[in-house]
C-alpha cells in the first residue's frame, strides 16, 4: 500500500509539469501576442515593448517556461495590473470562499443524492423511482446559473430570507451567505449522485451474494445498506470525484450570480479587465485543483476498496 501511495504521488509530478506546460502553451503561443491581448489593439509600440519587458516576454520561450514554473513553485506569480496586489495574495484571499462553497455544496448534494438513489433503487419502477428519475432528468438539463438566479429572485429578492450578495463575515454569517449558492450547486449534484447511486445499487442488488444474504434471513435494511450500498460505493467514489470537479466548474458562474468572492469571480473579472497575470494565476489554480482532486480520489479508492490495497 505504501508503494501504491508513493507511485501515485510520483505520477502526479509529471502530470503537474504537463499541466503547467499546457497552460503555458495556451497563454503564450495560442492567442498570439499577450501584450496586445492585455493592452488592446490601440496600444503604442512603446507601451507594448514596456509590457513585454515587464512580463519577461522578450526572453526565449524555454526560459519563459522555466521562470513560469519557478514562479508557480515559489508562489510568486506577479502582480495584478488593476489592483497592484500580488496574484498569490489575491488567490489566497479568494480561495477559501470557493473551497467553502464547493465543500458545502458537496455535502448537501451527497446527503440528498444518496438517499434519493437508494429510494429509487429499492422502489424500482414505482412512483418514488419515477419521481427521482424525473428529478435527475431536469437536474441534468437546467443550467446551474439559471437555477441560482431563480433561487436568488425568489428567496433573496422577494422573500428576503437570504442575503443578495457577498461572502459574509465570521462563521455563522458565512454559512448564511453560502447557503443559497451551495443549495443551487447541491440540487444539480443531487440529481447526478441520485442517478448514479440508483444505477450502481441496482447492479449490486442483482449479485449472488445479495441473494445469499436474503436467503440466510438478513433483514432488508441490512441487505441494502451493509451488503448493497457498501459495494456500490466504488463506482460512486469515481462519480463523486467527477461531481466534485463539476461543482468546482459550476462555482464560477454561481459566484457571479450571487456576487460572492472566489477564484471564479477573480478569474472572470480578470478576463474582463485583461489582467494577464491574474488570468494566468486563476487558470493555474483551477488546473492544480483538478490534479489534486484526482489524486485524492485515487487515494480514497484505497480506503473504499480493500482489493486495491492487496493487489498493489
Amino acid at each position: 500500500m505504501a508503494r501504491y501511495l508513493l507511485l501515485r504521488l510520483l505520477d502526479a509530478i509529471p502530470t503537474v509539469f504537463l499541466v503547467l506546460l499546457l497552460v503555458f502553451i495556451a497563454m503564450r503561443i495560442l492567442p498570439g501576442d499577450p501584450a496586445i491581448a492585455a493592452l488592446g489593439d490601440m496600444a503604442t509600440a512603446e507601451q507594448l515593448q514596456l509590457f513585454r519587458e515587464k512580463m519577461g516576454l522578450n526572453a526565449p520561450l524555454w526560459m519563459q517556461f522555466f521562470s513560469f514554473v519557478w514562479g508557480v513553485l515559489t508562489l510568486n506569480m506577479g502582480t495584478s495590473m488593476m489592483s497592484n496586489q500580488s496574484v498569490v495574495g489575491l488567490v489566497l484571499y479568494n480561495l477559501p470562499y470557493t473551497i467553502e462553497l464547493t465543500l458545502v455544496a458537496m455535502v448537501m448534494g451527497v446527503a440528498a443524492g444518496v438517499p434519493l438513489g437508494v429510494l429509487a433503487a429499492t422502489h424500482r419502477n414505482k412512483l418514488p423511482d419515477s419521481g427521482v428519475r424525473l428529478f435527475s432528468l431536469i437536474g441534468y438539463a437546467v443550467p446551474d446559473f439559471y437555477l441560482g438566479a431563480l433561487l436568488l429572485i425568489v428567496f433573496a429578492l422577494n422573500l428576503h430570507w437570504f442575503p443578495i450578495n457577498g461572502g459574509g463575515e465570521g462563521f455563522v454569517d458565512r454559512m448564511y451567505h453560502v447557503f443559497l449558492p451551495a443549495l443551487t450547486l447541491a440540487l444539480v449534484k443531487a440529481a447526478f449522485i441520485g442517478r448514479l447511486t440508483r444505477t450502481s445499487l441496482l447492479e449490486v442488488l442483482s449479485k449472488d451474494y445479495i441473494r445469499t444474504a436474503r436467503a440466510k434471513g438478513a433483514k432488508e435494511n441490512r441487505v441494502i445498506y451493509r451488503h448493497g450500498l457498501r459495494n456500490a460505493l466504488l463506482p460512486l467514489t469515481t462519480g463523486m470525484g467527477l461531481s466534485l470537479l463539476a461543482t468546482l466548474s459550476g462555482s464560477v458562474a454561481i459566484e457571479l450570480v450571487f456576487n460572492r468572492p472566489g477564484i471564479g469571480k477573480l478569474l472572470i473579472g480578470a478576463i474582463a479587465e485583461r489582467d494577464y497575470a491574474v488570468i494566468q494565476g486563476g487558470v493555474v489554480v483551477f488546473a492544480m485543483f483538478v490534479v489534486v482532486i484526482n489524486l485524492l480520489m485515487d487515494l480514497l479508492y484505497i480506503v473504499v476498496d480493500p482489493r486495491i490495497r492487496v493487489n498493489s
Binding site: A26, A141, V142, P143, L150, L245, L256, V257, I279, V283
Partner: protein, 293 residues
C-alpha cells in the same frame, strides 16, 4: 483477386442499413417523440427568426424599458427597452448553431487523433494518450472556461473553445474502438494482402467505429448548448449586443430589480432544449447498446 481486394461486401439493398438504429431510436418511445418535436420547433424558430420575431432584437427604446409581459411584448422588455422574446428567438440561432457545429468538429478532430493513436501505437500513441488522459481529468466546462479565459469571447473563439473541450472525449472513444477493430480478421486480412494504410483507415477502420462516435455526438449536442450558454453568461461567449440565451440571463441578472422575465424566459428555453437533446441522445445510446437500459 478483385473480390479479395475488397473484403467488405456492399450492404444488400433493402437490408438493415448501418444507421437504421437512428430511426428506431428517434421514434421508439413517446418521450423521445415529444423531444424530437420540441427540437424541431426550436429549429424552425431559429431558421425563421427574422419572420417570427415581432421586433428587431437590437433596437433600443428608452420609452419602454423594463416592461412586464403584455400583448405587445410577450416576455416584456429589458433595461434597454429591447423586446425579450425577439432577443430569445434570435438567441436560439446561436445556441443551436454552437450546439450542432462544435460536437461535429470535435468528432472530426477527436476521431482523427484517436484513430492515429490507436492504429499506429508506439510513441505517437503514448504522447496523444497522455495528453488526452490529462485533459479528460478536466470537466468540459472548466476546460472551456480556462481556454476562453485565454482566447476571449466572440463567435469563432466560442466554436474553438467548445470544440477543444470535447476533443479528448471523442479521441478516447475513437482510440479504444480502433484498438478493438484493428484486431478484427478483415483488418488483419487487409494488412496481410498489402492494402495501403490510408485505405485501411478510411475504408475499414473509420466506418466501423462510427456508431459510438455518432452517439457521443448526439449526447454532446446538449452539453454544447449548455456550454455556450454558460460561457455567454460568464461574458466569455457570444458578445453583446448579439443575443444569446446565456447573455440574456447575464443582462437580466444585472437588471434584477428591473424585470425578472429575461432570466425566466431564456433559462426555460435552455432547460427545455437541453432536456430534449438529452432525451434524444439517451434514446440513441440505448438503441445502440441495449445493455445500458
Amino acid at each position: 483477386m478483385t473480390i479479395i481486394a475488397d473484403p467488405v461486401p456492399e450492404l444488400v439493398d433493402g437490408g438493415p442499413g448501418r444507421f437504421d438504429f437512428l430511426r428506431r431510436a428517434l421514434f421508439g418511445r413517446p418521450a423521445t417523440i415529444v423531444a424530437v418535436v420540441i427540437i424541431a420547433a426550436f429549429v424552425v424558430v431559429a431558421a425563421l427568426a427574422p419572420i417570427l420575431a415581432p421586433y428587431d432584437p437590437l433596437t433600443q427604446s428608452m420609452l419602454r424599458i423594463n416592461k412586464s409581459p403584455s400583448w405587445e411584448n410577450w416576455l416584456g422588455t429589458d433595461q434597454f427597452g429591447r423586446d425579450v422574446l425577439s432577443r430569445m428567438i434570435y438567441g436560439s440561432r446561436n445556441s443551436l448553431l454552437f450546439g450542432l457545429i462544435s460536437p461535429f468538429l470535435a468528432a472530426i478532430f477527436g476521431t482523427t487523433l484517436g484513430v492515429i493513436a490507436g492504429y499506429f501505437g508506439g510513441v505517437v500513441d503514448r504522447i496523444i494518450s497522455r495528453v488526452i488522459d490529462l485533459l479528460l481529468a478536466f470537466p468540459e466546462l472548466l476546460l472551456a472556461i480556462m481556454i476562453a479565459a485565454v482566447l476571449g469571447g466572440g463567435f469563432w473563439n466560442v466554436i474553438v473553445v467548445i470544440t477543444v473541450a470535447f476533443i479528448p472525449g471523442f479521441a478516447r472513444v475513437a482510440r479504444a474502438q480502433t484498438l478493438s477493430v484493428k484486431q478484427d480478421p478483415y483488418v488483419e486480412a487487409a494488412i496481410a494482402i498489402g492494402v495501403r494504410t490510408p485505405v485501411i483507415i478510411f475504408r475499414h477502420i473509420i466506418p466501423n467505429i462510427m456508431a459510438p462516435i455518432i452517439v457521443l455526438m448526439m449526447l454532446w449536442v446538449a452539453s454544447a448548448i449548455r456550454l455556450e450558454a454558460s460561457l455567454s453568461f460568464l461574458g466569455i461567449g457570444t458578445q453583446p449586443p448579439n443575443p444569446s440565451w446565456g447573455n440574456i440571463i447575464r443582462d437580466g441578472l444585472n437588471n434584477l430589480f428591473g424585470s425578472p422575465w429575461p432570466i425566466i424566459g431564456a433559462g426555460a428555453a435552455i432547460t427545455l432544449v437541453v432536456l430534449a437533446f438529452n432525451l434524444v441522445g439517451d434514446a440513441v445510446r440505448d438503441a445502440l447498446d441495449p445493455s445500458t437500459v
